[in-house]
């Protein structure tokens, strides 16, 4: 009987990262992907000859360190890093993010000299906070509720680290982690456009509005990739050369080069259990594959509620999994255009447009959109992000034509008063096109093809429970040692030899691939391999 070292269920970014790390550590690893292509930014044709990522806006959160550590460039990956996009406001004004600090300050000074001055302080404070946070993200979380000598030592050293901080430093850190984005930004900036732009870039896809306490920490997100990723407070937009599949292709090449294997159209239906231990997986076609360790890149709920017979799980466990909050909030609209879209609100030739646009409501409107979502109302004024990757990569659309990748945030998975009927989907699509057309006159007439995917479609196609891209809401009670919940934050699960490597584990979606790398380190240690590298 052939037995692998490790099987990874699901070829999402975390699954591929875990596999790449394990393969590098010398493990014989097999990735099993249900769909025809691994999941991240899977490309597709919205119309013949028009290619774009089917589920995601782009790939803006692929950390440069991950690319470097896994030597993905060696396997053919080339990334174009662009500016962080431009926010377009209903009153016709706009505010853009630039990677070049001088240009970005000049952009800010169009609104307020004071804001331009404070930008330096803001950026410095955010980078300092990221610096402090980073070691926590690449660390496997211990369970602080468990009593052990090692744990006590960790807690005491954490206490000492807090004590060593200056009073105001600790106060500022507390503010960043507990305040609302609106309150936090008000401590730096006076202009509504500036604050809205920063909040919109950071809170896109989050389940907290800018007035919600603890939403300020999302402002760190654009600064996570501090070397190359930050672009004036928005995440730099990243476009892979060769289309959306180029990233997955590089991962697959990397895994293969290190002796691993990636199999597509291989749907895992069950975990093979012997005496309560995971021994392998069973595929939809009846095949069983055995391994010393099984990692799941599926979210917590799908992993445990779909792959296991519930009676094999410890008492109370299914209920805890059930309580893990997952709610989709983002819909995707894919558009083929027969001419380049015009945005009169942005100066012609402005490079910021390449990084995408955001139709941002004022802070109050953003907040209301989240309240509506919470009440499961059909969106009225959702936040809309749009990227036109064909402006940069001409191979994505026929000559003179373009593709537009659109994310709509604030779309509930289910509606309070009934199903998502065809009519309601059309209303959503129409709302999005109308909002885009307000900034881009004539857009409607340029549309050749268009497709809308609501959270339920995303769940059906790529298995994310409720269509939640974060694989679990990132509220403070579902982060760090509480992710997915206390006692399971170390990627190990109640089932021996079975590990969680998806973003349902620490550090969630905060660092793309982070959970995969952390889980790989745990598994490599368990397999006795020479320590997987944990990029962060």
């Amino acid at each position: 009987m052939q037995r692998r070292d490790a099987i990874v269920i699901g070829g999402g970014l975390n699954g591929l990262t875990a596999a790449a790390c394990l393969a590098r550590a010398g493990a014989d690893v097999l990735v099993l992907e249900r769909n025809a292509t691994p999941g991240i930014a899977a490309g597709y044709e919205v119309a013949p000859g028009f290619r774009l990522p089917r589920y995601s806006l782009g790939t803006s959160n692929l950390p440069a360190r991950l690319v470097a550590d896994l030597e993905l460039t060696k396997y053919g990956l080339r990334l174009l890093r662009l500016d962080g996009g431009v926010s377009l406001f209903p009153n016709g004004s706009s505010h853009a993010s630039y990677r070049d600090g001088v240009i970005h300050r000049r952009e800010l000074s169009r609104f307020s000299l004071r804001d331009a001055d404070n930008w330096t302080r803001y950026r410095r404070d955010m980078l300092a906070a990221v610096h402090r946070l980073r070691p926590l993200l690449s660390r496997v979380m211990s369970d602080p509720s468990r009593r052990s000598f090692a744990n006590l030592r960790r807690l005491l050293s954490a206490a000492d680290a807090l004590a060593a901080m200056r009073a105001n430093e600790l106060h500022d850190m507390t503010r960043l982690w507990t305040l609302s984005a609106a309150d936090f930004l008000a401590g730096y900036f006076e202009t509504e456009e500036v604050k809205t732009h920063l909040a919109a870039a950071a809170l896109a896809g989050a389940t907290l509005g800018p007035y919600a306490p603890s939403s300020a920490r999302f402002l760190l997100r654009p600064f996570m990739d501090e070397t190359v990723g930050a672009s004036g407070g928005a995440p730099a937009t990243v476009i892979p050369v060769g289309g959306p599949e180029a990233i997955a292709a590089a991962f697959v090449a990397d895994i293969k080069a290190h002796g691993g294997e990636v199999r597509t159209e291989a749907e895992v239906t069950d975990i093979v259990l012997r005496r309560g231990e995971a021994r392998g997986v069973a595929l939809a076609n009846g095949e069983e594959i055995y391994a010393r360790a099984v990692l799941s890149d599926l979210d917590l709920k799908r992993t445990f509620l779909a792959l296991f017979p519930w009676k094999e799980l410890p008492e109370g466990f299914v209920e805890r999994v059930g309580r893990f909050r997952m709610r989709g909030i983002t819909a995707k609209v894919n558009i083929a255009l027969d001419a380049p879209p015009l945005f009169p609100g942005v100066a012609e030739g402005c490079p910021a447009l390449l990084g995408g646009i955001r139709l941002a409501n004022a802070l109050g409107g953003m907040d209301r959109a989240i309240d509506d979502w919470r009440d499961r109302l059909p969106p009225r004024m959702p936040m809309v992000e749009a990227l036109i990757p064909s402006l940069v990569d001409r191979s994505l659309a026929p000559e003179g034509k373009h593709v537009m990748s659109v994310c709509v945030h604030g779309v509930p998975e289910t509606l309070h008063d009934g199903p998502w009927t065809a009519e309601r989907r059309d209303d959503l699509t129409d709302l999005v096109v109308t909002r885009l057309a307000e900034q881009s006159p004539g857009l409607r007439d340029r549309i050749l093809a268009l497709e809308t995917l609501i959270p339920a479609d995303i769940e059906a196609e790529i298995g994310l429970t409720s269509g939640d891209f974060a694989q679990g809401e990132e509220t403070l009670d579902q982060m760090f040692f509480n992710r997915p919940f206390a006692g399971m934050s170390g990627h190990e699960t109640p089932i021996r030899n079975f590990y969680l490597c998806s973003a349902s584990g620490h550090p969630g979606s905060l660092v793309a691939g982070g959970a995969g790398a952390n889980a790989a380190a745990v598994v490599a240690a368990a397999l006795g391999k020479r320590g997987a590298h944990a990029p962060a």
Binding site: A163, A164, H171, A212, S214, N482
Partner: protein
Amino acid sequence: MLLPDRSFDAIVIGGGHNGLVAAAYLGKAGRRVLLLEASPNLGGPLATAEITPDYRVSTGAHLIDMLPRRVEKDLKLAKHGLRYAARYVPTIALNPTNGHLVLSRRKRDLELLRKKSPRDADAYLAFTKRMRSHAALLSPFLDETPFALGGEGARAAFRKIVWRSQRLNAASREALLHDLPGSIGDLLDDTFETSILKGALALEALLGTVAGPFDAGTVLRSIYRKAQRLAGIGTSMPEGGMGAFIDALAAAAMDMGVAIRTSSPVARILVEDDIAVGVETAAGEIFHAPLVLSSAHPRATMIGLLGANRIDAGLAARLSRASTRGATAKLNLALSGLPTIQGLAPAEYGARLIVAPSLADVQEAYAQSKQGLFASNPVMEVTIPSVADPTLAPPSHHVMSILIQYVPYEAAGGWADSRDRLIDRVIETLSIYAPDLKSRIIAGELLLPADLERKFGLPGGDWHHGELRADQLLMHRPVPALAQYRTPIAGLYLCGAGSHPGGGVTGMAGRLAAKAALAERRRA
């Protein structure tokens, strides 16, 4: 030469309950103390005032539940006239459809809940036990001056917290780590299924805050309030309203030799070489003392009375960023008789009545307040103090005191047109429970957050002189540099609700500030 009646050992600015408590403790320690209050009356929002002649009610807060037994005893408040019309006032969640719910761990009361949901009755016992255990961990910190961050004591203090946490068993520790960062709404949703129970517990946790039920930090706040209650005397109603409590405090202070002057607003704090030497009133009178304690809002004290030029720019900026917002209004009604609340037993009319039928109602009220609207279905805490205390109204007549949660500081379109609509809305909502309420109303008085600000110097209408949230609690309150009550100006101390442990009728900020001031003087 200094005139003897112009020179004191200590001056206390502000005659709210914290100012009075601070003055009394200083007097008790043998200091000659002068207390200066700006308005003609002591107590600020803690007062008993007439709604209309012969109908008296507590202006702001209407119950005492966090006053530490120790303060009550130290200041001999009973001797100085404090009587309670009611002790251990029960809390009842009013149900618009069927069966009100008494929130209590008593078997008899739990049966009511068990009828709705046997699961919830068990969960209620576990939940209250769990919150109590969290609160017990916090409560020692409420009884002491916060330690200074970044200082020598910080390492020992943080380590002490770790050691304390080791005493908990694994389950309690896990529960604490899970609960602490979360929202009360999520926690209640995870724990209970009965909507009336969830609504009432949410309101209890959120009353007096601007945060919504699903906001992070609301469990922390709830635990904090619970910890304050642990040391308190139990929910009580002073005979004669909250003004009587203030009268007793004032009597205690005067008994300890404190000189009290009302209608004497302080214009500035006098400083020589970064040392406080006294105060000057708006009328130009000058009083000298080596100790000045201010119970005014920290920002009003440090920037208004002292002057921003006397403190460093960083501290001034931090103070100006400190958040002080209120979303709780008060409606007081004079009634020609006791309204009939359907389904409420006669003995229960004296209870604290909660009107928050579900979490969704609480969330909706919050969402509307963010848009500058008051709720379509307001959530409220209601008492009828005259049931237990007939001195408040003419025979068989009554007064009703209503705290309305989530009333925005600024109304969309301005408050001028909205005041009456808010009153109507509140009365309509209460009429669901008491259909004859409307016919019994003789007079009413509404205090919006902005009224509280204007009348009592509570910026933003915040009852607590600064929101009770993680960045403004304990060693962060009001800002780290001022968390030990002392200020960069030697001899000047903060003693109001803006300091640890914050608002609520506890007097603890006054007590701890007096203690800190006395300790420092001894050392000097």
